[in-house]
Subunit: 267 residues, 2 copies
């Protein structure tokens, strides 16, 4: 029949908006998840120039069969202005990475970076509630992970970021979301910790550093790294050598994709 099977006139369109765009993985991964669930939908890359974002996005959102958008660098904070209503985590963090058109035509936004991390732990059957967490890095992904983890009501969250003002802001946020959680601040360590989470860029690509000063990690510690490339960061390599259970950045990405597709297609 000289035709592809994955797109037709009835296909609902989703996009990932970024600048640059070529490095994104959502088109192949989110489209796979949507089509696996029998949705006639695709997610396309949308390269929007950063100085044109505010002027062109409202008109792009007028495409009648465009039902949702994902935002990546550098648009997560600016995209919040496109949402008429916000989910709880987007309100707290002040950024969104997913925007969906509701049945009444209004657009709602939420951020799923942290939700994806929590989902990765759930899929592994690793509980967070009542556990003691060390979180390193409170930037874009780190602050989202901090908020999502706080909703799980851990016993203790020890926070570290190179920017003390960011750290202070996240301490207040954890106190608001989960008053029962003990919050500590200071140089990162793994003593008395159940789950060690790196959301800093230390260890990315060819960076051979560890994000905290340790020579060994105790068996029984769970170690997570938000970094996707390399798959085994220096921190995860050490953790594996020490017999720790590790959760990878790719699992967070898959968890996030699943949660975003849930959000897009929720009634």
């Amino acid at each position: 029949m000289n035709q592809v099977e994955f797109i037709n006139g009835k296909t609902r369109v989703y996009g990932i908006v970024g600048d640059p765009i070529e490095q994104v993985r959502s088109p192949e991964m989110v489209t796979w998840e949507m089509q696996k669930r029998q949705n006639n939908a695709v997610l396309i890359p949308m390269h929007v120039a950063r100085d044109e974002f505010d002027s062109v996005m409202p008109d792009i959102m007028r495409i009648q069969n465009l039902d949702g958008l994902i935002f990546t660098i550098p648009f997560k904070a600016r995209a919040i202005a496109l949402a008429k209503t916000l989910g709880p985590q987007a309100s707290q963090i002040g950024a969104i990475n997913a925007l969906k058109k509701n049945s009444n035509g209004d657009w709602s936004g939420e951020i799923f970076d942290g939700v994806g991390c929590v989902e990765a732990f759930k899929r592994r059957g690793i509980p967070i509630h009542d556990k003691r967490l060390q979180l390193i890095g409170l930037g874009g992904a780190g602050s989202a992970i901090c908020v999502a983890m706080a909703y799980e009501k851990p016993k203790l969250m020890r926070l570290f970021d190179i920017n003390p003002l960011t750290t202070e802001r996240m301490v207040k946020m954890v106190n608001t979301i989960s008053p029962q959680t003990i919050v500590e601040v200071g140089a990162p360590h793994a003593d008395g910790i159940d789950i060690l989470l790196n959301a800093s860029p230390v260890g990315m690509l060819s960076d051979s550093r560890l994000p905290l000063a340790v020579e060994t990690l105790k068996n029984g510690l769970v170690v997570f790294d938000a970094i996707v490339m390399p798959e085994n960061t220096p921190l995860l390599t050490l953790a594996i050598d020490c017999g720790c259970e590790v959760v990878r950045g790719r699992e967070m990405m898959l968890g996030q994709i699943s949660k975003i597709v849930d959000y897009f297609f929720a009634p």
Copy 2:
């Protein structure tokens, strides 16, 4: 790997713009043609409301990885305003159905309905040059077929449309494009004709009428019908019964798709 193979961050995006959009066949057929040629590209449906077309299209065209658009009902005439430069047939007809971004960022437009019809004849090895044609219907598709056929310099073109002003306009156009072609006007017939072309809607869907008053057609006549549904219109059914060679609307559509993809990816 939990990912589809047909789209990623580097995919170039094309769209078909119409209102309504669900009935279009270009997404599956043009995407097939592009991917068959090893282009990392997809063509998505874009439903733009008719009263928003003029305001939103310029911003949609700011998507940096959007390289081309096809226009369908009701936008072929209005879309011409989006093109900085026009191909020869678009200039003559005053409408476009394809718009492409050039390497300098400017957009060029052309209309391929007629080109697709000529391409269908070429693929069949049926010559048009020096032949005697009867063309019935000079609306959107018909005027485009008229212009494209005139470029092939037939010996005679006999034109009929229910609107005499339209017919008069097309007579002038054929005279301009091919001064050597004899142009006749009047009720359609097949006497002394080599190729009979129907571009009127008569015979579409459940319409059982013929577009001209005949009871038989002479063997050796070539009969074309631009109608896609049904595949065998009353005219084509009669032609087949009379032993004529027939060319179908679907062949014109395939010819057009091929020519549009050539245009999109021409250096």
